[in-house]
């Protein structure tokens, strides 16, 4: 409005996400609704980042409005402290274009090129990692997880670098697929990696055009879970030439 002459350095912290049976009004993933707002930054911590550090950087490093969204189910989870990560997990930190908001790359075998890269933020990254370990252990399907902390602007450089090594890419989000964060990431990657990707970037998100039910069993069917993620991974793996 003022051609960049006035900045509004405000950080708005807000919870998001379902999984507790709180019903349609307390379970949404609202971040997608703000993707279209120019000048707004969206940050989302996970247990693989330093949430306190991200919040501090949001306050001190960005002079524009920041939406700091936190998944409710992560509140009781322990953050991974350096040297205390799950058994045999290799974590690599990629600096994003905006310093202080890294994208983490998780792998159970960083010396080999992954079959699939899953791009997921917040709680979805934890679910993806659990399945990644199971599939590597049982079938030697190597799935690396890219966990960005900055959702807007999308850290395209980091995600392109991580995804370029994989045969298949999946963007996983808790919100709806239509018009979601995943659709923007998939478009950007399909453009930047058009000649390298063996198959198009896939997405998995919450169920379309549905409110999130209160009953937990029904909520499980609407939101992405280990079962729906495994089904999607199998679908992608079968398509990889």
């Amino acid at each position: 409005m003022y051609n960049g002459q006035v900045s509004v350095p405000i950080v708005i912290r807000t919870p998001m996400g379902g999984g507790r049976g709180y019903g349609p009004t307390h379970s949404q993933s609202i971040e997608s609704m703000f993707l279209n707002v120019p000048g707004l930054f969206i940050v989302s911590p996970s247990i693989f980042h330093n949430p306190g550090g991200l919040l501090a950087n949001s306050v001190t490093e960005i002079n524009d409005p920041v939406l700091f969204i936190e998944n409710k189910l992560l509140y009781p989870e322990k953050v991974l402290i350096e040297g205390d990560s799950p058994q045999y997990l290799q974590i690599k930190e990629h600096d994003s274009e905006i310093s202080g908001f890294p994208t983490m790359e998780l792998s159970y075998d960083s010396s080999n090129e992954p079959d699939i890269v899953i791009i997921a933020y917040s709680r979805m990254a934890s679910i993806a990692l659990e399945l990644s370990k199971k599939l590597f252990y049982e079938d030697e399907i190597l799935i690396n997880i890219a966990v960005p902390s900055l959702l807007k602007p999308i850290p395209n450089k980091n995600l392109t670098e991580i995804a370029s090594r994989a045969k298949g890419v999946l963007v996983l989000e808790e919100g709806n697929e239509t018009g979601g964060w995943g659709s923007e990431v998939a478009t950007q990657l399909n453009t930047s990696l058009f000649n390298e990707l063996k198959i198009p970037v896939h997405r998995l998100g919450g169920a379309q055009e549905s409110v999130i039910p209160c009953a937990q069993k029904m909520e499980e069917r609407i939101l992405p879970n280990k079962k729906s993620l495994l089904k999607k991974i199998n679908e992608i793996y079968r398509k990889i030439p």
């Binding site: 040297g83 205390d84 990560s85 058994q87 159970y108 590597f136 252990y137 079938d139 030697e140």
Partner: protein
């Protein structure tokens, strides 16, 4: 009902999920940590007493030095009688590639020790053939028919082959050991022309000499020039003033008329017919039955498909098919 959970908004009743003996692990009104275990339901009194007396330790996940492998890797190791601890891999999960690499290394060490006992003393003209596949065996037969050399061993990249037709096979990395054992002559019997040239250079770098293997039932004009490392097979005809480079395969029944030039690494498959004044580029492959008209230049790395006929010049890296031959694709090598 075994308890109540009171929040700012509402009170939740906690129901027992099973029948059994209930024991609270914390005292009333004590502050607890998030995710801390506060009570259990056991099936029997013995477990109940065990938990009553001791405090459940906090779970702490740390990186362990214990050897852990994927299911496939564990199965493969068991099949090959390999102890996973022998791989000495810590800090990550062992996979099948690691087990194969260990098994290959083990085999290589065994092979390294077997060459120590190898000798070709008393053999006047020992020859080693690089490549223990079908091509190598044909070369061996031809050499035996000619009688100039005696094949004493093969070299191959495949560790799994130990012996072919009672002739030992050593890993290709042991080539320098053979030089120490006074083997001076070698033939490269690798099918792929580009790879064949690379390996031929490696052989020359060790100081060995590459020989030509010429079948007694082939015809080579006295005015033709043949380089080194070529395989001229039974029925091949090479007429006046034609030049054959190095490391070519001139297959059964190939007819090369006068004044032709075949560059290094080519393969002319059975039945190829060349008119005169033709130049065939480096590492080109002419398929079975290909015919080439006079005064033609075929570029480097071309592939001419089976049965095709070439009536005009072909650019390098081309794939040609048909009668008359048409461009159907391009190769990426040699750019």
């Amino acid at each position: 009902m075994i308890g109540e959970l009171e929040t700012t908004k509402s009170v939740f009743e906690i129901e027992a999920t099973k029948s059994g003996y209930f024991v609270a692990l914390v005292e009333e009104k004590k502050e607890v940590e998030v995710n801390q275990l506060i009570a259990i339901i056991c099936n029997d009194l013995e477990t109940l007493n065990k938990y009553k007396e001791k405090q459940i330790p906090k779970k702490r996940i740390t990186n362990s030095t214990k050897t852990i492998a994927t299911k496939k890797a564990a199965h493969l190791a068991k099949k090959h009688n390999i102890e996973l601890n022998d791989l000495a891999i810590h800090g990550r999960i062992i996979n099948t590639k690691d087990v194969y690499a260990f098994a290959n290394k083990h085999e290589q060490e065994e092979k390294n020790s077997s060459i120590e006992n190898f000798t070709c003393d008393g053999i006047p003209h020992p020859l080693v053939i690089y490549g223990a596949g079908a091509g190598g065996l044909i070369v061996k037969e031809t050499v035996e028919q000619c009688g100039n050399y005696q094949v004493v061993c093969f070299l191959d990249d495949n560790l799994a082959i130990n012996q072919v037709w009672n002739v030992p096979v050593f890993h290709s990395s042991l080539i320098t050991k053979l030089v120490e054992k006074k083997v001076k002559h070698c033939f490269c019997a690798v099918a792929n022309g580009v790879v064949r040239l690379k390996i031929a250079q490696l052989i020359l770098d060790t100081g060995m000499e590459l020989i030509n293997v010429v079948h007694p039932h082939s015809y080579i004009s006295s005015s033709a020039n043949i380089g080194a490392g070529n395989h001229i097979k039974s029925g091949a005809i090479i007429e006046n003033n034609s030049d054959i480079g190095n490391n070519c395969i001139i297959d059964n029944g190939v007819v090369i008329a006068h004044d032709n030039k075949i560059k290094d690494g080519c393969h002319l498959a059975p039945g190829v017919s060349l008119g005169s004044n033709i130049e065939v580029g480096k590492c080109a492959v002419l398929g079975v039955g290909v015919s080439v008209s006079t005064n033609i230049v075929i570029g480097d790395y071309c592939i001419i498909s089976v049965g095709s006929s070439v009536t005009s010049n072909i650019e390098k890296n081309s794939l040609v098919e048909g009668v008359p031959g048409k461009l159907v694709g391009r190769r990426n090598i040699g750019k």
